[in-house]
Subunit: 337 residues, 2 copies
């Protein structure tokens, strides 16, 4: 059961471990004879180098950490896929951690990533600068993706939260909506804060109602979207249009509308976040604020590779855009119209 080591290989090939190692790592100073002997021995014994031992001696592990808040959120699942594929191109293995939208689990994973000596870290962080002090002070090359942390000197690649929301609000105003509800993300995340702020900016100074009761703050999970939908629909003067700040809350909210017999597209205009395939299947299909997840994931890896190489990386903001579909095609009904 003991696994095959380079010593066994060297012994069988009749060379020293030094030579065997050189052959394996493609060092130029190796004779053809040694090369074939070692390769034959490797094949015969089924040798597989021990990554632990190699990483210990070299200072690099050829491993990237990826820390996401919720793998069940399709946006992050897509992001994980994009990051992993791009990391593979650079010869990196992706070590994946799911923080479960919990600061404690995030901290545990930071520890794990540091212990595993990943060469770099891509994270969609939560919490503030203080709670991230561990990582920020560790010197580990890090890139933030999707979310950023104010005041942290870490390059990031994130969506343009402002423009998408502005376009959506203007679109709804153009359709005649004056009571526009908003289901916000957690204010402990930059995306949650920026999107809420953008909503407030977009509303203020327009014909739209601007009372705080139209905002429900959730936590990016489906249940909070459902709670938000109930709260908004229970208002004495309910909104005629609703925006939700991520895909899971959109799902929760739409479910509640269906239960309560509120017809999306007819009784209520709805704008979701993130362009998930299933959203196009709804009847009517969902108007969404979309961004290019693949570009974000690939870009994050490329930035991190640059940071690891010691180059300066500029933070990037990727455009968001509104995709108008049936869920916002009609003008509002009822007293507000």
């Amino acid at each position: 059961m003991r696994s095959v080591t380079i010593k066994d290989v060297a012994g069988r090939a009749g060379v020293s471990t030094a030579t065997a190692s050189r052959v394996l790592s493609g060092h130029p100073s190796t004779s053809p004879a040694a090369r074939t002997a070692v390769e034959q021995a490797v094949a015969d014994l089924g040798f597989r180098p021990n990554a632990q031992a190699r990483s210990l001696r070299r200072t690099t592990t050829q491993t990237l950490g990826l820390l996401l808040p919720d793998i069940r959120n399709p946006f992050f699942a897509d992001l994980a896929h994009a990051v992993e594929q791009r990391a593979r191109d650079f010869g990196y293995l992706t070590l994946f951690g799911n923080a479960n939208e919990s600061v404690e689990q995030q901290d545990r994973y930071f520890d794990v990533m540091l212990s595993q000596r990943v060469d770099g870290l891509i994270a969609a962080p939560q919490g503030d600068r203080a709670s991230l002090a561990g990582i920020l002070g560790s010197g580990l090359p890090t890139v933030f993706v999707d979310r950023v942390i104010d005041g942290a000197d870490v390059p990031s690649i994130s969506p343009d939260n402002r423009t998408g929301i502005h376009e959506a609000v203007e679109h709804l105003l153009g359709l005649g909506h004056r009571r526009i509800g908003y289901i916000a993300g957690p204010q402990s995340t930059s995306t949650g804060r920026e999107r809420l702020r953008a909503y407030q900016e977009a509303i203020s100074g327009t014909a739209a109602d601007d009372d705080g009761g139209l905002v429900h703050v959730g936590d990016f999970q489906a249940a909070s979207g459902a709670a938000g939908a109930h709260a908004l629909l229970d208002l004495a003067d309910p909104p005629t249009a609703v925006l939700a700040a991520d895909s899971l809350m959109s799902i929760g909210a739409i479910g509640v509308c269906n239960e309560r017999g509120v017809a999306i597209g007819a009784d209520l205009a709805f704008v979701g976040y993130d362009d998930i395939e299933a959203f196009t299947l709804l009847n009517p299909a969902l108007t969404v604020i979309a961004h290019d997840v693949d570009a974000m994931g690939r870009g994050a890896v490329e930035m991190l590779v640059a940071v690891i190489a010691g180059e300066a990386a500029e933070s990037r903001v990727l455009p968001s855009r509104l995709i108008v579909r049936g869920s916002t095609m009609d003008s509002p009904k009822g007293p507000s119209a």
Copy 2:
């Protein structure tokens, strides 16, 4: 930039590395004085043990490998989440690999997992016994999840593919359907094969039409579900009901129905696979064959932990069940009715 080692800790605490190590790993033979000194030094220096060095010396890495075919498939995303949470309970870190429904990528990840010396592997495999010879011969404790490999002596936890399909077909027969189309999964996977076989069994000997044209074999990706829907709807005598063998193909097929103006639930009955939250939002909501993903993920970890401990693990089959919703409530229309 050089990271803090146990030597630095020992030096600062005024003890040997042996004593420092004993304090850190909770060895009983340590004096309170040594303990506090070492703990203080660890805190002062921000010491984090090097997992590589530790794993090299011990034979264990406290790491599990998880190899899935497609993280963007919500079923596998849920599975990944369940596995990771349960693994954490046992003190294991999950090293995650996404094979992208490709046998080559799967092989690469097997190599990586072996090199990383994971303590055990949970995989939803593809290919046949020959292509998995590497893993099967390696002696690495392994558990298969969702999918199995015929003739491989590896414990597995998988869904009861047969019963769910039988219930679905009987349900459709009961509604009067006689032309029941089937969008099958790839025949290189056990789930693809077993579900197709179950469909054929369930159909044969009944009043339903049993010609091969009603079956379209896809690859568990959305595009193949779309292709299957086109093929079935283009038949001279198209089906009045369709089953799809996984969630992504269901999404693809439903999209095509929407495009072509085929009203699901009215013009066409549709049964999907896997109970994804978004499926309940469709109008009408989707009838699906569901299984308990969480139990499967947790069960896989528990089995693997047993295998690692040298215990025998019995393969398990988890029940599937049909959840009837609006997409199959109506009787068929048209000439076949």
